[in-house]
């Protein structure tokens, strides 16, 4: 009976120590989670600014008359409607060429650099019907959702664009 009581005392002591450690650990974890400041917004801001600059770029394609040249933003809409430039080129061809060149000139990508890839997708979103990604300019492979700095922007009532940069977690 005496041994039993002693064993019980030891067990109570052990349980008290475990509870104390658990409570202090919980307090630490609580403070740690509270002090977490959330995601870095600067990269998203950079992506937004780039997207604005790219969409505003004046292309070499004028749909109605020269020098009323379309911006990339206007050309996305014209491309979807299958329009022709006054030069005789297809709006979609000019769009492809321009967007690819802007993306290549603006972002240097490689597995060792801070940016490992990008993707630009114009989307046609009619009020009734499913959204259609009618073009995609993609230079990224194996980009997880956690590495992406993504921005979506409506450009007219039926169109929007989405752009993401793939960030290198190791740099």
């Amino acid at each position: 009976m005496k041994t039993n009581k002693k064993a019980q005392e030891e067990m109570v002591g052990f349980v008290l120590v475990v509870i104390l450690v658990a409570v202090i650990l919980l307090i630490f974890i609580g403070i740690f989670i509270r002090s977490d400041r959330g995601p870095d917004n600067t990269a998203n801001l950079e992506v937004t600014q780039f997207l604005d600059a790219m969409l505003g770029y004046t292309t070499n394609c004028a749909i109605r008359y020269e020098p009323d040249y379309s911006s990339v933003e206007q050309l996305i809409v014209d491309c979807n409607k299958g329009k022709l430039c006054t030069s005789g080129q297809m709006a979609c061809d000019v769009l492809d060429e321009t967007v690819e060149k802007i993306l290549e000139a603006s972002w240097r990508i490689s597995p060792e650099r801070p940016v490992t890839g990008y993707s630009f997708t114009p989307v046609y979103q009619p009020t009734s019907g499913h959204p259609t990604e009618f073009h995609q300019y993609n230079k990224s492979s194996n980009c997880s959702i956690f590495q992406r700095k993504e921005v979506e922007k409506p450009i007219s009532s039926d169109f929007s664009v989405s752009f993401y940069l793939c960030e290198n977690p190791a740099v």
């Binding site: 120590v17 202090i24 630490f28 403070i31 600067t42 950079e46 604005d52 004046t58 020098p67 603006s106």
Partner: protein
């Protein structure tokens, strides 16, 4: 004597538990502090970046840079105005910056500094060219560069550009 030995054993046991607890909490505290330190460094870095982006954004809206027209143009700067600003050279001390360069990202053929003679076939305009160190924090922001093209009756051409700034320490 028997009691005393037992008490000694108990004291030893308690001391051992206390030492283990202290070591454990010291380790937890160290891990916590190292995480905290890392997050403080990241926050400081982010704040520095945000500040520089804000500087660039406010620069783009100053009368010396702003492109004003009837059309709605977000983050647009007037490249013609900026060239004149560089040629006059009066504004080097106007902004509290060590380094201020406006670069054309697209289109560009070769890397050349803009002068009155080669404009617009050039790549960048350096308003404050004194970069203090290659390693100090330089920030950039994408902007739309707008310039007047007199051909075909004249029109405003929008191009992709970057403003680079370096804060005074």
């Amino acid at each position: 004597m028997n009691y005393s030995k037992k008490a000694q054993l108990k004291i030893q046991q308690m001391a051992f538990v206390i030492v283990i607890l202290v070591i454990f909490f010291a380790m937890v505290t160290m891990i916590y502090l190292s995480f905290q330190l890392k997050s403080i460094e990241t926050s400081a870095d982010n704040l520095r970046k945000e500040e520089a982006i804000e500087i660039v954004r406010s620069l783009a809206t100053t009368p010396e840079f702003l492109f004003s027209s009837t059309e709605d143009c977000l983050n647009c700067v007037d490249l013609d105005k900026i060239l004149m600003l560089k040629i006059n050279g009066d504004h080097k001390k106007f902004w509290n910056l060590d380094y201020l360069i406006v670069e054309r990202v697209f289109p560009r053929e070769s890397i050349k500094e803009c002068t009155k003679a080669n404009y617009p076939d050039c790549t960048y305009i350096s308003i404050i060219p004194n970069k203090t160190s290659e390693f100090s924090s330089e920030s950039k922001a994408f902007v739309t560069l707008v310039r007047w093209v007199p051909e075909k009756g004249g029109y405003f051409k929008h191009e992709v550009g970057i403003i680079h700034v370096q804060n005074k320490k």
